[in-house]
Symmetry: C2
Subunit: 340 residues, 2 copies
């Protein structure tokens, strides 16, 4: 089957890879209807995350079940399914407490590499959620978004305790940040401040529900958010970048007693304990427990209440994945959908 | 009036200081029935926090109101009152949201210096809570504890979401850590793991409600907590020290989806964003919003349901405060009560 492999920073190739096959009796094999490129794929693509030799790529996926292992009992061949970027057993104490992305038996799907025609999904029963029927082509992008970018933005907003009466600030105008805006809106936030300096992203943020735009960054951005919130800061802040500056901006933008949900994968970030102590904000982040939200997100998409698929502004055949990486790396595209 | 002044690391003197007097119409003057020495007083005493010249000391207090300013309307002369180590107006948005220690008009009481015979309490109406009547001498230590050490341990346990069915680990066996054990018990925790290597403190921890003792520290301590929790870590962890090691121990001891409440004032702590991200724990700390809990704590003490005053294991006249600092610095005393 065809699949993407990263050989070195900047060098992604789509080539023939061994066909996906059942390894454990709890596995399923799906034929992908769509896959995509994630902001976090750019970390190794840019050489920030080091490679130990060629690496299969991709962790987002929707598709049709082709085969299941002998112990996969709820997922059936022929079903259209959505799964999280972390496979989870669904039955351990951590899964049951709502944190499937920290499942004691979790498998990060980038180890499987879903930028491919077919993919093995571990813990199929715990991981996959079937849609109510076979979706029309127009729903595929939104369902694909649920696999990670929407689910991650949603977790950011939930972790930040976005809700009625709240002012929510979102740091980062990448796809996850934009999805956090959508999530905050769905969760009933009163005011949503998108921090963005790119006009096309500001426009999309407004479409998704942003009520205010702040273009400044760092301390100036913090000052602007305070200015908009009676000097206090936002109740809820979603951090969707993962750098030192963006984390400080997020913490600084929250009021005492407020909540920061951080979903940008942190790289070389060191938080000052003292700053955090006196900021008196709650901090919760990590790999988003997307599986927790999937049934709700699929329902919202199926009923056409949200259209997160709009976040894909470039669609390419899988074989041209390299162009997609370039476009995202250069910020010419927000998020790239790949068609196997 | 007599009051404590720190002149240099290790050099605390009780001397004549200007008598406490109303400065703002919202102030009250109290005559202290008791005050005490806090673990956080040791930071400047040990030279970890630098001094800009001689500093008045102390921020914990209970006593009788002697005089109120023209705008203090709920607090009356003659009342016995307890207040937090942070004076707060009680009416700003941050106070009303439950975070009076981050009140927009807050005054840290160590700027007033309550290791003294009398003290000016800013924002008297917002800060002070009157007891139902004049307490007997036997209740004074417990009421004094509510002013900071109990309230701070309580906040740690609340921030860690200690409650029924939860396993709570407490890092730090100082007075605050011991109070966090008491709080976790009152909040209904199922299992309370005190991390302590000192026999007398272990004993007190068990009296306050600890069900398990872990003597190891750092990674070994984390491993022990995991061993006691089916490999997962505690649901709730209270950090009551404030060092790099204790913060890492606390975060490492919590399970994914768990909560860390940190109340040790952080000094030179840098948290790895990446470690925190993958730990997937909620973090909340800062100066404890003690005022939020005071009515409940006073009631528990008044009804003899808790006896936090046991945390004081040395009582001295105010004039011998220097001996108290020495005893706490050398860990010969857990917490020292001073009688003006």
């Amino acid at each position: 089957m065809r699949g993407a492999v990263l050989y070195a920073p900047g060098d992604v190739r789509v080539e023939d890879r061994p066909d996906a096959a059942i390894i454990k009796p709890t596995d399923a094999i799906i034929r992908l209807s769509a896959t995509c490129i994630c902001g976090s794929d750019l970390w190794p693509y840019r050489g920030v995350e080091k490679l130990d030799g060629p690496a299969v790529m991709g962790h987002e996926y929707v598709g049709v079940v082709e085969e299941v292992g002998s112990e996969a009992t709820t997922v059936k061949p022929g079903q259209f399914v959505v799964g999280s970027f972390v496979a989870s057993d669904g039955i351990c104490e951590i899964c049951r407490s709502g944190y499937p992305s920290s499942c004691v038996h979790r498998v990060f799907m980038n180890e499987v590499g879903t930028q491919s025609e077919r993919a093995r999904i571990p813990h199929a029963d715990g991981t996959l959620v079937a849609t109510p029927g076979m979706p029309g082509a127009e729903l595929i992008p939104s369902l694909l978004a649920a696999s990670d970018v929407l689910g991650t933005g949603w977790f950011g907003a939930v972790a930040a305790q976005a809700g009625p009466g709240k002012t929510v600030a979102v740091v980062g105008d990448g796809a996850v940040g934009l999805m956090a805006v959508l999530a905050a809106r769905q969760l009933g936030a009163e005011r949503i401040i998108a921090m963005s300096r790119h006009e096309t992203r500001q426009k999309l943020a407004r479409e998704f529900g942003a009520t205010d735009i702040v273009t400044e960054r760092g301390n100036d951005g913090v000052a602007q958010v305070k200015e908009l919130t009676n000097g206090l800061g936002a109740h809820s802040v979603v951090e969707a970048v993962g750098t030192q500056e963006s984390m400080r901006q997020a913490i600084g933008s929250a009021r005492p007693g407020g909540h920061v949900g951080y979903v940008g994968v942190n790289h070389d970030v060191a938080l000052s304990g003292e700053e955090l102590f006196f900021a008196q904000v709650s901090l919760l982040g990590g790999p988003a427990p997307v599986r927790r939200f999937l049934p709700q997100l699929i329902e919202l998409i199926w009923e056409r209440k949200i259209d997160p698929g709009k976040v894909f502004d470039l669609t390419l055949p899988l074989d041209r994945a390299a162009e997609g990486y370039q476009a995202m790396d250069e910020r010419r595209a927000i998020k790239v959908l790949l068609q196997p």
